[in-house]
C-alpha cells in the first residue's frame, strides 16, 4: 500500500433519518496503527458514524474504504469478518451465554478457525483482560465494568485491523477506567488501529494523539487533541464550559 494512502478512508459520508441530517459530508482518513478520538456533544452523529463504519447502518451517501477496498454497502457481518470490530455504548453481550461462549461466537464465525484454537485464543484474551476466572460464568453475572471488558474481548476475537470503541469509559469505576485505558494503549502498541468515541475528555486525551470533533452531523475539527480543544468552534460547540479564557 502506498505510504500516502490512508489505511481507512472515509469520504463524503452522509446519513439522514427522515428530515434529520444525522451525518453529512464526513471525510477523514486513518493511518495504520493510529489511535483517534471521535468526540462531540450528544446528537452530533458519533454513534451513527460508528454504525456506518461497521455496516450496522447503510450510508445514504459517501464511501468507506478499508485498505483500498470499498465497503460502504457491505453488511455488518462482512465488516466484522474483514477485521472491523466494535463495542457498543451499552454492552450488548449474549447475556444467557457464558463468558467463554461470548468469545467463541466471533472466533468461530470464521469458518477456517478450529474450535480448539479458538478456545486457546479466547483464554489468552481473557487473561489479557484479567477475566480468566470468569470464563464459565454467565455474561449477565458480570459487573458493568467487566461487561465492557468482555465486549472488548469479543471484538478482539475478530482479530481486528480496525477497532471502534463506543464510549468505553462511560459509567466505569475509576480503577477499571485505568485498566481499560491501559488495555487500549497496549492494543495500539500491538499495531491495532483504534477509534475511541467518548465524552470523558480526560480519558480520551490520555489515549489518543489526534481527535475528530463532530457537531450536528458535521466534522468541525480534526487534529492534535490540545490544539483541537482550543479551537473556538469546538469550544463553542462542545467544550465551552471547560475552556480556559
Amino acid at each position: 500500500m502506498p505510504a500516502d494512502q490512508a489505511f481507512v478512508s472515509v469520504g463524503g459520508l452522509a446519513k439522514y433519518f427522515g428530515g434529520i441530517h444525522a451525518v453529512r459530508d464526513l471525510s477523514f482518513g486513518l493511518a495504520r496503527s493510529e489511535i483517534v478520538g471521535l468526540i462531540g456533544p450528544n446528537g452530533s452523529g458519533k454513534t451513527t458514524t460508528i454504525n456506518m463504519l461497521t455496516g450496522v447502518l447503510k450510508p445514504d451517501g459517501g464511501t468507506i474504504a478499508v485498505e483500498g477496498v470499498e465497503m460502504a454497502r457491505a453488511p455488518a457481518h462482512h465488516f466484522a469478518r474483514s477485521g472491523v470490530a466494535r463495542t457498543f455504548q451499552v454492552p450488548r453481550l449474549f447475556r444467557r451465554m457464558t463468558v467463554m461462549e461470548n468469545l467463541m461466537v466471533p472466533a468461530l464465525s470464521d469458518p477456517t478457525e478450529k474450535r480448539q484454537a479458538a478456545e486457546a485464543r479466547a483464554r489468552g484474551v481473557l487473561a489479557f483482560l484479567k477475566l480468566g476466572h470468569m470464563a464459565d460464568e454467565y455474561a449477565r453475572a458480570l459487573s458493568g465494568g467487566q461487561q465492557k471488558l468482555l465486549e472488548l474481548g469479543r471484538a478482539l476475537m475478530l482479530k481486528p485491523r480496525l477497532l471502534l470503541l463506543d464510549e468505553p469509559f462511560a459509567g466505569v469505576h475509576p480503577r477499571l477506567l485505568e485498566q481499560i485505558i491501559d488495555h487500549i494503549k497496549s492494543l495500539n502498541r500491538d499495531g491495532h488501529t483504534i477509534v475511541v468515541v467518548d465524552h470523558n475528555l480526560e480519558a480520551i486525551q490520555s489515549v489518543v494523539s489526534r481527535t475528530i470533533v463532530m457537531t450536528r452531523g458535521r466534522k468541525i475539527a480534526d487534529g492534535a487533541v490540545a490544539e483541537v480543544l482550543q479551537d473556538p468552534e469546538v469550544v463553542r460547540a462542545y467544550t465551552g464550559a471547560r475552556a480556559k479564557h
Binding site: H77, A85, R86, L93, F94, L108, S109, R154, M157
Partner: protein
C-alpha cells in the same frame, strides 16, 4: 468405565420406558402414545426455533398442515408412492419455511408472532375455502402407512421419528451453528457485528424446523387417516407452545417430555371435560412461577443437587490440580 451423566441417564431411562410401554398397555394408550409423538415432534422443533434461535413463530402448525395435506394430495392427485409423497411434502414445507423466513427476516418479538399468526390463519382459511381439493371441513381422507388397524407400528414409527429428529437437532446444536443460533436469540445485532451472517442462520433454522413440523403433520395424517383444517387452529399452536414451555423451551428432550406429559395428562383427565384444560392452565402458571426454564431442566437440576457431594469433591480435586499447576 465412562459414567453416564444424569441428564443422559434420565433420557436413556425414558427411552427404555417408551420402547416397552406398548407391551404393557392396551390399544387405547398405544394410540394415545402415538399421537403424543406427533406433539413431541412439534414441541421439540418449536423449541429449537423459539427456545434456541429466539424466533417466536406461530406458523408451526401451518407447516404441519402443509406436510400432512401435501403428502395426502401427492398420493391421491399425482399417484406418488406414499414414502416419496411424504418426502416431497417435507421438502415443500422446507421451501416454504425458507420463504416465510425471508419474509420475516426483519421482524422480531410480537411483530414476528403476529405476522406468522396471520400466515398460519391465511393458510388454514385456504384449506377451508379450497374444498374441491382439500374437502374443507369434511376432511381429506389420507391413506395409512401400514396395513391393518393396529396402532403399534405407528407408535414405534412415531418414536423412531422423535429419536431421529432429536439426534439430528442435537447434532446441529453441537456444531458452531448451535452457538450462533443462541447468539442470535440473545442479540441479533451483536451477533451480526460479531461476524455472524444472521440472515443465513435464521433461514436455516426455519427450514429445519418447518421440515420437522411437516414430518410431524405427514406422520399424523397417514396415522389418523383424515385431515381437517382444524390441525392448524390457534388452540393447537397454543397447546404445542404450552407443551414446550412446561417441558423446557431451551431443552429439546424437555420439550418432548412436556408434550408427552401434557398429552397423557389431558387424555387421563378426559372424564373431567373442560376442567382438564383449567388444570393444564394451572400447571403452566405454576411452571412459569417456580420452574421458568421448564420441568425437565428443573428435574435435571434437582438430580445434580442430589449428586452434589460427589461433584464438590471433583471440583476440589480440579482446583487443587489447578493451583499446583
Amino acid at each position: 468405565m465412562p459414567r453416564l451423566s444424569f441428564p443422559h441417564a434420565v433420557q436413556a431411562l425414558l427411552l427404555v420406558i417408551a420402547v416397552l410401554l406398548p407391551l404393557f398397555v392396551g390399544p387405547y394408550w398405544t394410540h394415545v402414545g402415538a399421537v403424543a409423538w406427533y406433539y413431541a415432534l412439534l414441541a421439540a422443533s418449536w423449541a429449537l426455533l423459539a427456545g434456541y434461535a429466539g424466533q417466536f413463530s406461530f406458523a408451526h402448525m401451518a407447516f404441519a398442515a402443509l406436510g400432512g395435506y401435501s403428502s395426502a394430495l401427492f398420493v391421491s392427485k399425482f399417484g406418488l408412492p406414499l414414502p416419496l409423497a411424504s418426502v416431497c411434502a417435507i421438502l415443500l414445507a422446507m421451501g416454504m419455511g425458507a420463504l416465510v423466513a425471508a419474509l420475516v427476516l426483519r421482524l422480531s418479538g410480537p411483530y414476528l408472532a403476529l405476522f406468522t399468526l396471520a400466515i398460519s390463519e391465511i393458510f388454514r382459511l385456504v384449506l377451508v375455502a379450497e374444498d374441491e381439493v382439500t374437502r374443507g371441513m369434511l376432511g381429506l381422507e389420507v391413506p395409512g402407512f401400514f396395513p391393518g388397524s393396529s396402532d403399534r407400528p405407528y407408535y414405534y414409527l412415531g418414536l423412531a421419528l422423535v429419536v431421529l429428529s432429536l439426534l439430528g437437532m442435537n447434532l446441529l446444536l453441537s456444531t458452531r451453528v448451535g452457538l450462533f443460533l443462541r447468539a442470535i436469540r440473545e442479540d441479533e445485532g451483536a451477533a451480526n457485528t460479531s461476524g455472524i451472517d444472521t440472515t443465513r442462520y435464521k433461514i436455516l433454522v426455519f427450514i429445519v424446523t418447518s421440515g420437522i413440523a411437516a414430518l410431524a403433520g405427514t406422520y399424523y395424517g397417514h396415522f389418523i387417516g383424515i385431515l381437517t383444517p382444524n390441525i392448524a387452529i390457534l388452540p393447537e399452536m397454543g397447546l404445542v407452545i404450552a407443551m414446550a414451555v412446561i417441558g423446557g423451551i431451551e431443552s429439546l428432550p424437555g420439550a418432548v417430555s412436556g408434550a408427552v406429559v401434557v398429552y397423557l395428562l389431558s387424555e387421563s383427565l378426559r372424564s373431567y371435560g373442560e376442567w382438564r384444560f383449567v388444570l393444564l392452565g394451572l400447571v403452566l402458571i405454576l411452571v412459569q412461577r417456580f420452574a421458568q426454564n421448564g420441568l425437565f431442566p428443573f428435574i435435571e437440576r434437582l438430580g445434580r443437587k442430589r449428586l452434589a457431594p460427589q461433584a464438590k469433591l471433583a471440583i476440589g480435586k480440579t482446583m487443587g490440580n489447578g493451583h499446583a499447576g
